[in-house]
Protein backbone atom coordinates (compact mmCIF):
# COMPACT_ATOMS: atom_id res chain seq x y z
CA UNK A 1 0.00 0.00 0.00
CA UNK A 2 2.69 2.43 0.97
CA UNK A 3 4.47 1.67 -2.28
CA UNK A 4 1.41 2.50 -4.32
CA UNK A 5 1.01 5.92 -2.78
CA UNK A 6 4.66 6.59 -3.42
CA UNK A 7 4.37 5.56 -7.07
CA UNK A 8 1.44 7.90 -7.48
CA UNK A 9 3.37 10.74 -5.93
CA UNK A 10 6.38 10.06 -8.09
CA UNK A 11 4.25 10.18 -11.20
CA UNK A 12 1.97 13.09 -10.39
CA UNK A 13 4.01 15.42 -8.21
CA UNK A 14 6.03 16.74 -11.16
CA UNK A 15 2.83 17.73 -12.91
CA UNK A 16 2.08 20.52 -10.51
CA UNK A 17 3.65 20.74 -7.05
CA UNK A 18 7.12 19.86 -8.22
CA UNK A 19 6.89 20.84 -11.87
CA UNK A 20 10.35 20.93 -13.42
CA UNK A 21 9.65 24.07 -15.43
CA UNK A 22 7.50 26.33 -13.28
CA UNK A 23 8.68 25.23 -9.84
CA UNK A 24 12.26 24.12 -10.37
CA UNK A 25 12.70 26.57 -13.30
CA UNK A 26 14.64 24.03 -15.37
CA UNK A 27 14.65 23.65 -19.14
CA UNK A 28 13.48 27.23 -19.73
CA UNK A 29 15.74 27.63 -22.77
CA UNK A 30 13.88 25.11 -24.92
CA UNK A 31 10.51 26.44 -23.71
CA UNK A 32 11.45 29.79 -25.26
CA UNK A 33 12.82 28.28 -28.41
CA UNK A 34 10.30 25.74 -29.65
CA UNK A 35 6.90 27.03 -28.52
CA UNK A 36 6.10 29.55 -31.26
CA UNK A 37 3.82 26.88 -32.74
CA UNK A 38 1.81 24.12 -31.07
CA UNK A 39 3.01 21.22 -33.22
CA UNK A 40 6.75 21.49 -32.46
CA UNK A 41 5.84 21.98 -28.79
CA UNK A 42 3.99 18.67 -28.76
CA UNK A 43 6.75 16.85 -30.65
CA UNK A 44 9.36 18.29 -28.33
CA UNK A 45 7.30 17.36 -25.26
CA UNK A 46 6.84 13.77 -26.43
CA UNK A 47 10.54 13.51 -27.29
CA UNK A 48 11.54 14.67 -23.82
CA UNK A 49 9.09 12.24 -22.17
CA UNK A 50 10.56 9.36 -24.19
CA UNK A 51 14.19 10.28 -23.60
CA UNK A 52 13.68 11.00 -19.91
CA UNK A 53 11.72 7.80 -19.21
CA UNK A 54 14.19 5.52 -20.99
CA UNK A 55 17.27 7.30 -19.68
CA UNK A 56 15.90 6.99 -16.15
CA UNK A 57 15.24 3.26 -16.58
CA UNK A 58 18.64 2.54 -18.15
CA UNK A 59 20.57 4.51 -15.55
CA UNK A 60 18.52 2.94 -12.79
CA UNK A 61 19.34 -0.55 -14.11
CA UNK A 62 23.03 0.32 -14.30
CA UNK A 63 23.13 2.29 -11.05
CA UNK A 64 24.93 -0.34 -9.02
CA UNK A 65 27.60 -0.97 -11.65
CA UNK A 66 28.51 2.61 -12.55
CA UNK A 67 31.89 3.70 -11.16
CA UNK A 68 31.25 6.86 -9.13
CA UNK A 69 33.95 8.99 -10.71
CA UNK A 70 32.59 8.62 -14.25
CA UNK A 71 28.87 8.54 -13.46
CA UNK A 72 28.14 11.88 -15.14
CA UNK A 73 29.90 10.69 -18.30
CA UNK A 74 27.88 7.47 -18.28
CA UNK A 75 24.66 9.46 -17.87
CA UNK A 76 25.65 11.75 -20.72
CA UNK A 77 26.49 8.86 -23.04
CA UNK A 78 23.12 7.22 -22.38
CA UNK A 79 21.18 10.47 -22.83
CA UNK A 80 23.15 11.43 -25.93
CA UNK A 81 22.53 8.01 -27.46
CA UNK A 82 18.78 8.21 -26.80
CA UNK A 83 18.58 11.75 -28.14
CA UNK A 84 20.29 10.78 -31.39
CA UNK A 85 17.87 7.86 -31.77
CA UNK A 86 14.89 10.19 -31.22
CA UNK A 87 16.37 12.65 -33.72
CA UNK A 88 16.77 9.90 -36.33
CA UNK A 89 13.23 8.61 -35.77
CA UNK A 90 11.82 12.13 -36.16
CA UNK A 91 13.80 12.64 -39.37
CA UNK A 92 12.24 9.45 -40.70
CA UNK A 93 8.65 9.86 -39.51
CA UNK A 94 8.08 13.56 -38.74
CA UNK A 95 10.40 15.34 -41.13
CA UNK A 96 8.69 18.75 -41.02
CA UNK A 97 8.64 18.86 -37.24
CA UNK A 98 12.26 17.75 -37.10
CA UNK A 99 13.19 20.53 -39.53
CA UNK A 100 11.44 23.09 -37.34
CA UNK A 101 12.99 21.77 -34.14
CA UNK A 102 16.42 21.49 -35.84
CA UNK A 103 19.09 21.67 -33.14
CA UNK A 104 16.71 21.68 -30.19
CA UNK A 105 16.19 17.91 -30.28
CA UNK A 106 19.97 17.54 -30.03
CA UNK A 107 19.97 20.07 -27.22
CA UNK A 108 17.72 17.83 -25.10
CA UNK A 109 21.09 16.47 -23.97
CA UNK A 110 21.82 19.73 -22.23
CA UNK A 111 18.34 20.03 -20.72
CA UNK A 112 18.88 20.35 -16.98
CA UNK A 113 15.74 18.31 -16.25
CA UNK A 114 17.41 15.19 -17.63
CA UNK A 115 20.67 15.36 -15.74
CA UNK A 116 18.75 16.50 -12.68
CA UNK A 117 16.41 13.50 -12.69
CA UNK A 118 19.17 11.01 -13.50
CA UNK A 119 21.46 12.28 -10.79
CA UNK A 120 18.78 12.88 -8.15
CA UNK A 121 16.39 10.01 -8.76
CA UNK A 122 17.53 7.24 -11.11
CA UNK A 123 20.93 6.80 -9.41
CA UNK A 124 19.15 5.95 -6.14
CA UNK A 125 15.93 4.18 -7.13
CA UNK A 126 14.69 0.98 -8.76
CA UNK A 127 13.79 0.92 -12.48
CA UNK A 128 9.96 1.07 -12.12
CA UNK A 129 9.80 4.16 -9.88
CA UNK A 130 12.50 5.68 -12.07
CA UNK A 131 10.37 5.07 -15.14
CA UNK A 132 7.38 6.74 -13.46
CA UNK A 133 9.57 9.61 -12.35
CA UNK A 134 10.83 10.06 -15.91
CA UNK A 135 7.33 9.96 -17.40
CA UNK A 136 6.01 12.30 -14.69
CA UNK A 137 8.71 14.89 -15.14
CA UNK A 138 8.52 14.58 -18.91
CA UNK A 139 4.78 15.20 -18.81
CA UNK A 140 5.29 18.08 -16.39
CA UNK A 141 7.64 19.64 -18.93
CA UNK A 142 5.43 18.81 -21.91
CA UNK A 143 2.31 20.28 -20.28
CA UNK A 144 3.98 23.66 -19.86
CA UNK A 145 5.32 23.50 -23.41
CA UNK A 146 1.88 22.73 -24.82
CA UNK A 147 0.16 25.46 -22.79
CA UNK A 148 2.71 28.05 -23.90
CA UNK A 149 2.66 26.79 -27.50
CA UNK A 150 -1.15 26.88 -27.54
CA UNK A 151 -1.38 30.52 -26.52
CA UNK A 152 1.53 31.65 -28.67
CA UNK A 153 0.19 30.05 -31.82
CA UNK A 154 -3.42 31.10 -31.14
CA UNK A 155 -2.66 34.76 -30.56
CA UNK A 156 0.51 35.01 -32.64
CA UNK A 157 -0.67 33.32 -35.83
CA UNK A 158 -4.41 32.85 -35.31
CA UNK A 159 -4.00 29.13 -35.99
CA UNK A 160 -3.76 25.90 -34.02
CA UNK A 161 -1.67 23.01 -35.40
CA UNK A 162 -1.63 24.99 -38.63
CA UNK A 163 -5.43 25.22 -38.96
CA UNK A 164 -7.07 28.63 -39.01
CA UNK A 165 -8.97 29.07 -35.74
CA UNK A 166 -9.67 32.77 -35.56
CA UNK A 167 -12.30 33.35 -38.26
CA UNK A 168 -11.63 35.61 -41.23
CA UNK A 169 -14.47 37.91 -40.14
CA UNK A 170 -12.38 38.92 -37.10
CA UNK A 171 -9.56 40.04 -39.38
CA UNK A 172 -12.02 41.88 -41.61
CA UNK A 173 -13.26 43.69 -38.52
CA UNK A 174 -9.73 44.90 -37.80
CA UNK A 175 -8.31 42.15 -35.57
CA UNK A 176 -4.54 41.80 -35.94
CA UNK A 177 -2.30 38.91 -34.92
CA UNK A 178 -0.02 39.80 -32.04
CA UNK A 179 3.47 39.66 -33.52
CA UNK A 180 5.02 39.82 -30.06
CA UNK A 181 3.62 36.35 -29.33
CA UNK A 182 5.91 34.85 -31.97
CA UNK A 183 9.02 36.33 -30.34
CA UNK A 184 10.86 34.38 -27.60
CA UNK A 185 10.33 36.94 -24.77
CA UNK A 186 6.59 36.25 -24.88
CA UNK A 187 7.26 32.62 -23.91
CA UNK A 188 9.01 33.88 -20.80
CA UNK A 189 6.07 36.15 -19.95
CA UNK A 190 3.61 33.27 -20.46
CA UNK A 191 5.70 30.97 -18.26
CA UNK A 192 5.67 33.72 -15.64
CA UNK A 193 1.87 33.92 -15.90
CA UNK A 194 1.61 30.14 -15.41
CA UNK A 195 3.87 30.42 -12.37
CA UNK A 196 1.66 33.22 -11.03
CA UNK A 197 -1.55 31.22 -11.45
CA UNK A 198 0.02 28.10 -10.00
CA UNK A 199 1.46 29.84 -6.94
CA UNK A 200 -1.83 31.51 -6.13
CA UNK A 201 -3.45 28.04 -6.06
CA UNK A 202 -0.63 26.35 -4.13
CA UNK A 203 -0.01 28.60 -1.19
CA UNK A 204 2.78 26.39 0.15
CA UNK A 205 4.89 27.14 -2.95
CA UNK A 206 4.89 30.86 -2.23
CA UNK A 207 8.17 32.22 -1.00
CA UNK A 208 8.44 35.22 1.28
Amino acid sequence: MADKIKAKEVLFNPLSKNNPVVVQILGICSVLAVTAKLEPSIVMGVSVIAVLAFANVIISLLRNTIPTNIRIIVQLVVVAGLVVIVDQVLKAYAYDASKQLSVFIGLIITNCILMGRLEAFAMANKPWPSFLDGVGNGIGYAVILVIVGFFRELFGSGTLLGYQVIPQSFYDAGYVNNGLMILPPMALILVACIIWVQRSYNKDLQED
Binding site: T65, I66, P67, T68, N69, I70, I73, V74, V77, V78, A80, G81, V84, I85, Q88, V89, K91, A92, Y93, Y95, K99, S102, V103
Partner: protein
Protein backbone atom coordinates in the same frame (compact mmCIF):
# COMPACT_ATOMS: atom_id res chain seq x y z
CA UNK B 1 35.53 -6.72 -7.57
CA UNK B 2 36.61 -3.15 -6.96
CA UNK B 3 34.22 -0.93 -8.85
CA UNK B 4 36.34 2.16 -8.31
CA UNK B 5 39.54 0.78 -9.83
CA UNK B 6 40.95 2.26 -13.02
CA UNK B 7 40.75 -1.03 -14.92
CA UNK B 8 37.07 -1.47 -14.08
CA UNK B 9 36.29 2.13 -15.05
CA UNK B 10 38.08 1.87 -18.38
CA UNK B 11 36.53 -1.47 -19.31
CA UNK B 12 33.11 -0.18 -18.22
CA UNK B 13 33.24 2.89 -20.41
CA UNK B 14 34.60 0.94 -23.41
CA UNK B 15 31.77 -1.59 -23.19
CA UNK B 16 29.21 1.18 -22.75
CA UNK B 17 30.45 3.10 -25.76
CA UNK B 18 30.48 -0.02 -27.93
CA UNK B 19 26.91 -0.92 -26.92
CA UNK B 20 25.60 2.63 -27.47
CA UNK B 21 27.55 2.97 -30.71
CA UNK B 22 26.12 -0.28 -32.08
CA UNK B 23 22.60 0.78 -31.15
CA UNK B 24 23.04 4.12 -32.92
CA UNK B 25 24.56 2.55 -36.03
CA UNK B 26 21.70 0.05 -36.23
CA UNK B 27 19.05 2.79 -35.89
CA UNK B 28 20.73 4.98 -38.47
CA UNK B 29 20.98 2.11 -40.96
CA UNK B 30 17.41 0.98 -40.41
CA UNK B 31 15.94 4.45 -40.87
CA UNK B 32 18.20 5.64 -43.71
CA UNK B 33 15.84 4.78 -46.64
CA UNK B 34 12.87 6.59 -45.08
CA UNK B 35 14.97 9.62 -44.20
CA UNK B 36 16.32 9.75 -47.75
CA UNK B 37 12.75 9.74 -49.08
CA UNK B 38 11.90 12.69 -46.85
CA UNK B 39 15.02 14.56 -47.90
CA UNK B 40 14.23 13.97 -51.57
CA UNK B 41 10.62 15.09 -51.15
CA UNK B 42 11.85 18.20 -49.36
CA UNK B 43 14.28 18.97 -52.19
CA UNK B 44 11.48 18.54 -54.72
CA UNK B 45 9.27 20.94 -52.77
CA UNK B 46 12.10 23.48 -52.75
CA UNK B 47 12.64 23.17 -56.50
CA UNK B 48 8.94 23.69 -57.12
CA UNK B 49 8.95 26.65 -54.72
CA UNK B 50 11.30 28.50 -57.10
CA UNK B 51 8.59 28.27 -59.77
CA UNK B 52 6.05 29.45 -57.19
CA UNK B 53 4.30 26.09 -56.93
CA UNK B 54 3.32 24.83 -53.48
CA UNK B 55 2.71 21.09 -53.69
CA UNK B 56 0.28 19.21 -51.47
CA UNK B 57 1.97 17.77 -48.41
CA UNK B 58 1.30 14.15 -49.39
CA UNK B 59 1.66 14.63 -53.12
CA UNK B 60 5.09 16.21 -53.44
CA UNK B 61 6.56 13.44 -55.57
CA UNK B 62 3.50 13.30 -57.82
CA UNK B 63 3.47 17.08 -58.26
CA UNK B 64 7.19 17.10 -58.96
CA UNK B 65 6.75 14.49 -61.70
CA UNK B 66 3.84 16.44 -63.16
CA UNK B 67 5.49 19.88 -63.27
CA UNK B 68 9.13 18.98 -63.87
CA UNK B 69 8.74 17.64 -67.38
CA UNK B 70 12.42 17.05 -67.95
CA UNK B 71 15.71 17.41 -66.17
CA UNK B 72 19.22 17.28 -67.55
CA UNK B 73 22.79 18.26 -66.80
CA UNK B 74 24.84 20.69 -68.87
CA UNK B 75 28.48 21.73 -68.72
CA UNK B 76 29.96 25.20 -68.91
CA UNK B 77 29.95 25.11 -72.73
CA UNK B 78 26.20 24.57 -72.66
CA UNK B 79 26.41 20.97 -73.91
CA UNK B 80 24.06 18.40 -72.42
CA UNK B 81 25.85 15.64 -70.53
CA UNK B 82 24.48 12.14 -70.93
CA UNK B 83 24.23 9.54 -68.20
CA UNK B 84 23.99 12.01 -65.31
CA UNK B 85 20.64 12.65 -63.64
CA UNK B 86 20.09 16.25 -62.56
CA UNK B 87 18.41 15.29 -59.31
CA UNK B 88 21.43 13.21 -58.22
CA UNK B 89 23.99 15.96 -58.77
CA UNK B 90 25.36 17.25 -55.48
CA UNK B 91 25.33 21.00 -55.99
CA UNK B 92 27.36 21.57 -52.82
CA UNK B 93 30.36 19.68 -54.23
CA UNK B 94 29.92 21.03 -57.76
CA UNK B 95 29.88 24.66 -56.59
CA UNK B 96 33.41 24.24 -55.23
CA UNK B 97 34.89 22.91 -58.49
CA UNK B 98 36.40 25.03 -61.24
CA UNK B 99 33.57 26.29 -63.51
CA UNK B 100 34.72 24.27 -66.55
CA UNK B 101 34.62 21.00 -64.60
CA UNK B 102 31.18 21.39 -63.07
CA UNK B 103 28.07 19.37 -63.77
CA UNK B 104 25.24 21.88 -63.93
CA UNK B 105 21.71 20.56 -63.32
CA UNK B 106 18.71 22.09 -65.09
CA UNK B 107 15.07 21.34 -64.22
CA UNK B 108 12.50 22.18 -66.85
CA UNK B 109 9.25 23.09 -65.19
CA UNK B 110 6.08 23.28 -67.28
CA UNK B 111 3.98 25.66 -65.20
CA UNK B 112 1.11 25.61 -67.69
CA UNK B 113 0.55 24.20 -71.17
CA UNK B 114 3.52 25.27 -73.32
CA UNK B 115 4.99 27.68 -70.76
CA UNK B 116 8.34 26.43 -69.54
CA UNK B 117 10.56 27.71 -66.78
CA UNK B 118 14.16 26.65 -66.26
CA UNK B 119 15.12 26.06 -62.64
CA UNK B 120 18.80 26.23 -61.71
CA UNK B 121 20.20 25.32 -58.28
CA UNK B 122 22.62 27.54 -56.38
CA UNK B 123 24.71 26.83 -53.29
CA UNK B 124 26.97 29.04 -51.20
CA UNK B 125 27.97 30.19 -47.74
CA UNK B 126 26.11 32.48 -45.36
CA UNK B 127 27.37 33.70 -42.01
CA UNK B 128 27.01 30.56 -39.89
CA UNK B 129 26.64 27.82 -42.43
CA UNK B 130 25.59 26.89 -45.93
CA UNK B 131 22.83 28.68 -47.82
CA UNK B 132 21.25 27.35 -51.00
CA UNK B 133 18.38 27.98 -53.30
CA UNK B 134 16.78 27.57 -56.70
CA UNK B 135 16.33 30.25 -59.34
CA UNK B 136 13.68 29.86 -62.05
CA UNK B 137 14.27 31.54 -65.42
CA UNK B 138 11.79 32.37 -68.15
CA UNK B 139 12.31 30.73 -71.53
CA UNK B 140 14.12 33.86 -72.74
CA UNK B 141 17.08 32.77 -70.60
CA UNK B 142 17.43 36.17 -68.96
CA UNK B 143 14.35 37.10 -66.95
CA UNK B 144 14.05 35.57 -63.50
CA UNK B 145 10.62 34.09 -62.89
CA UNK B 146 11.03 33.25 -59.22
CA UNK B 147 13.57 32.28 -56.61
CA UNK B 148 13.69 30.24 -53.46
CA UNK B 149 16.39 30.44 -50.79
CA UNK B 150 17.05 28.37 -47.70
CA UNK B 151 19.68 28.26 -45.03
CA UNK B 152 20.93 25.94 -42.36
CA UNK B 153 21.52 28.19 -39.38
CA UNK B 154 21.45 31.90 -40.18
CA UNK B 155 20.43 34.28 -37.39
CA UNK B 156 16.63 34.30 -36.97
CA UNK B 157 15.17 37.70 -37.79
CA UNK B 158 18.34 38.81 -39.58
CA UNK B 159 20.15 36.55 -42.04
CA UNK B 160 17.40 33.94 -41.82
CA UNK B 161 15.06 36.39 -43.54
CA UNK B 162 16.47 35.26 -46.91
CA UNK B 163 14.07 32.32 -46.80
CA UNK B 164 11.05 34.63 -46.58
CA UNK B 165 9.10 35.49 -49.73
CA UNK B 166 9.64 39.18 -48.87
CA UNK B 167 13.26 38.68 -49.90
CA UNK B 168 13.03 36.07 -52.65
CA UNK B 169 10.08 37.69 -54.44
CA UNK B 170 12.29 40.71 -55.20
CA UNK B 171 14.09 38.58 -57.78
CA UNK B 172 11.08 38.14 -60.05
CA UNK B 173 11.46 40.11 -63.26
CA UNK B 174 15.17 40.86 -62.88
CA UNK B 175 17.38 40.37 -65.93
CA UNK B 176 20.75 38.60 -65.92
CA UNK B 177 21.58 39.70 -69.48
CA UNK B 178 21.67 43.46 -69.59
CA UNK B 179 23.19 45.60 -72.34
CA UNK B 180 24.53 42.38 -73.89
CA UNK B 181 26.51 41.46 -70.78
CA UNK B 182 25.92 38.62 -68.35
CA UNK B 183 25.67 39.79 -64.76
CA UNK B 184 23.87 37.69 -62.17
CA UNK B 185 21.79 39.82 -59.82
CA UNK B 186 23.62 41.81 -57.13
CA UNK B 187 22.43 41.97 -53.53
CA UNK B 188 23.09 45.44 -52.12
CA UNK B 189 22.35 47.51 -49.04
CA UNK B 190 18.80 48.80 -49.17
CA UNK B 191 18.70 52.18 -50.92
CA UNK B 192 21.93 51.66 -52.84
CA UNK B 193 22.47 50.50 -56.40
CA UNK B 194 25.48 48.88 -58.10
CA UNK B 195 27.58 51.36 -60.12
CA UNK B 196 27.65 49.36 -63.34
CA UNK B 197 23.89 49.18 -63.81
CA UNK B 198 23.58 45.52 -62.90
CA UNK B 199 20.09 44.42 -61.85
CA UNK B 200 19.92 44.22 -58.07
CA UNK B 201 17.75 43.46 -55.07
CA UNK B 202 17.84 44.93 -51.56
CA UNK B 203 19.77 42.95 -48.99
CA UNK B 204 18.60 42.31 -45.44
CA UNK B 205 19.37 45.02 -42.87
CA UNK B 206 21.43 43.46 -40.10
CA UNK B 207 22.06 40.41 -42.28
CA UNK B 208 24.88 41.92 -44.31
CA UNK B 209 27.11 38.87 -44.46
CA UNK B 210 24.25 36.55 -45.38
CA UNK B 211 23.08 39.03 -48.04
CA UNK B 212 26.58 39.24 -49.49
CA UNK B 213 26.65 35.44 -49.37
CA UNK B 214 23.53 35.32 -51.53
CA UNK B 215 25.16 37.74 -53.99
CA UNK B 216 28.35 35.75 -54.34
CA UNK B 217 26.41 32.47 -54.43
CA UNK B 218 24.48 33.76 -57.45
CA UNK B 219 27.71 34.96 -59.10
CA UNK B 220 29.49 31.67 -58.48
CA UNK B 221 26.68 29.31 -59.40
CA UNK B 222 24.87 31.13 -62.22
CA UNK B 223 27.93 32.31 -64.18
CA UNK B 224 28.76 28.78 -65.44
CA UNK B 225 25.24 28.66 -66.93
CA UNK B 226 26.00 31.70 -69.12
CA UNK B 227 26.39 29.70 -72.32
CA UNK B 228 23.30 27.58 -71.58
CA UNK B 229 21.17 30.66 -70.95
CA UNK B 230 22.50 32.33 -74.10
CA UNK B 231 21.57 29.30 -76.18
CA UNK B 232 18.16 29.35 -74.57
CA UNK B 233 17.54 32.98 -75.50
CA UNK B 234 18.65 32.36 -79.10
CA UNK B 235 16.27 29.43 -79.41
CA UNK B 236 13.42 31.60 -78.20
CA UNK B 237 14.25 34.39 -80.66
CA UNK B 238 14.26 31.92 -83.51
Amino acid sequence: MNKQSNTYTIIYIIVLVIVVGTALAATALALRPRQQENINADKMAQILAAAMITPEKDGIVADFDRYITSQFVVNERGETLDNVKAFDVDVATQSKLAPDRRELPVYVCTVSEGVQKYILPVYGAGLWGPIWGYVAFDADGSTIYGAYFAHQGETPGLGAEIEKPAFSSQFAGKQVFKDGRFRPIAVVKAGQAPLDGEDYVDGISGGTITSKGVGSMLDNCLTPYKKFLQNLSQQTVR
